[in-house]
Amino acid sequence: MGLDEFVGKIKEEFSEDYNVGDLDPDTHIKDMEWWSSMHMLVVIALVDAEYDVMLSPEEVREATSIKSLFEIIKTKK
């Protein structure tokens, strides 16, 4: 499991609905103009399905970037 793979999975999850071409490890997804509470739930579900890690809403909220979110996942794995 690598960071690039994780970024790719997030892009894949939202690519049909949004322009996700600019997403990179340093992106703070919570700051994306399209980010909503539903997106947070989708990310939590994605991480649970792909990595068998259950993130809390607080962990997603407090992550400063996709990279930092990925670090949390690695810690909980």
Binding site: S36, S37, M40, V42, I44, P57
Partner: protein
């Protein structure tokens, strides 16, 4: 004698509230249209201000009497399950007994419950038939939850709808309703709550102060509040174990279940649960697109969808799993 689910009928209020209506009311949320579509709701029905939960419960019961040729004189007990009631006292079930013209020898109780309400009230109906010698219990599960929303609460207005279901629990020789599993975690009772207006916090001038969350959704203490993320995670964590426990308590194998009918919380969560539990899509019922989440009524509505179209038939084994307000959860296995 054994209890079993004999008939189900549904009733919906006249007024529908489509996604087009929603985006006209909340144009600021239109940018989230695609992600919101994952909730899986395109229409809901909503009661008007004057209509109460007992009103639509009576309509559902009358529809059942007519659709299934049930004689109201055969009803021996009424269970009214809802989160909304006509009065603090008396019970809505007493009002319903009178409205339906049922005999004075009928028993009637209210059960204050929401998403887990159908499973909880089904267990009571089973107990009345198998333990108290009754033959026909009328179970009314009703949502008029939309009356409790703040007018600016777009999250709740998108997800929920109103409906009433009438389920006749009858008696027969063969197995019909299995053993129940229940759970409660009152430490999270504030996840789904109307904080003011009950005995703990009477309505005062602060009850209507608008509270805006980080995503711009609005409610107040006098209106419905849901910690959506918290409830979502609760469902993800609790339901897989609940299914294991239901199967174990009923000594049933996973493959013996013909259909899994869960509380229809939302499409996204249901699909996550289906994949986590590895339920084949053709055995898993998702039925909320035209109704929204109708709280205590979702399971009978979803079950009735496969009864009405002939997919489910006599002898099929169905697993019910419900979860929500309280927080509570529960489930059982039934044979049609």
């Amino acid at each position: 004698m054994k209890a079993y689910i004999k008939h189900i009928s549904e009733f919906y209020p006249e007024k529908s509230y489509t996604n087009d209506d929603f985006y006209k009311e909340f144009p600021e949320v239109e940018a989230q249209k695609e992600i919101l579509s994952r909730v899986g709701v395109s229409n809901r029905y909503v009661v008007d201000e004057k209509t109460t939960s007992s009103d639509i419960a009576v309509q559902a019961a009358e529809k059942m009497f007519e659709e299934h040729d049930v004689n109201p004189k055969d009803i021996e007990f009424v269970i009214f399950c809802s989160g909304e009631f006509d009065y603090i006292t008396p019970t809505s079930s007493a009002i319903i007994q009178n409205s339906l013209g049922l005999s004075n020898n009928v028993g009637a109780i209210d059960l204050v419950s929401s998403c887990t309400g159908f499973v909880q009230s089904l267990s009571i109906a089973k107990g009345m038939i198998e333990g108290c010698g009754l033959k026909n219990v009328l179970l009314l599960c009703v949502s008029t939850i939309t009356k409790e929303f703040h007018k600016k609460d777009f999250n709740s207005k998108y997800l929920f709808g109103d409906a009433a279901t009438a389920t006749l629990v009858g008696s027969r020789e063969e197995f019909g309703i299995g053993n129940f599993v229940f759970g409660t975690d009152g430490s999270r009772s504030d996840y789904i709550i109307i904080r003011d207006g009950g005995g703990r916090n009477p309505i005062d001038e602060n009850s209507f102060t608008e509270e805006i969350n980080e995503y711009g959704n609005v409610t107040c203490k006098a209106n419905f509040y849901m910690n959506g993320a918290g409830v979502f995670l609760f469902g993800m964590k609790t339901v897989p174990k609940l299914i294991e426990n239901i199967l174990e308590k009923n000594k049933a194998a996973f493959d013996e279940i013909d259909y899994f009918v869960f509380h229809q919380a939302n499409h996204l969560l249901l699909e996550i649960l289906r994949k986590k539990i590895k339920i084949p899509a053709n055995k898993f019922i998702i039925h909320l697109e035209n109704t929204g989440n109708t709280v205590a009524a979702t399971i009978p509505i979803a079950l009735n969808s496969i009864l009405k179209n002939g997919v489910a038939k006599s002898g099929d084994t169905i697993l019910f799993a419900a979860f929500g307000t309280g927080l509570t959860w529960g489930g059982t296995v039934v044979r049609l």
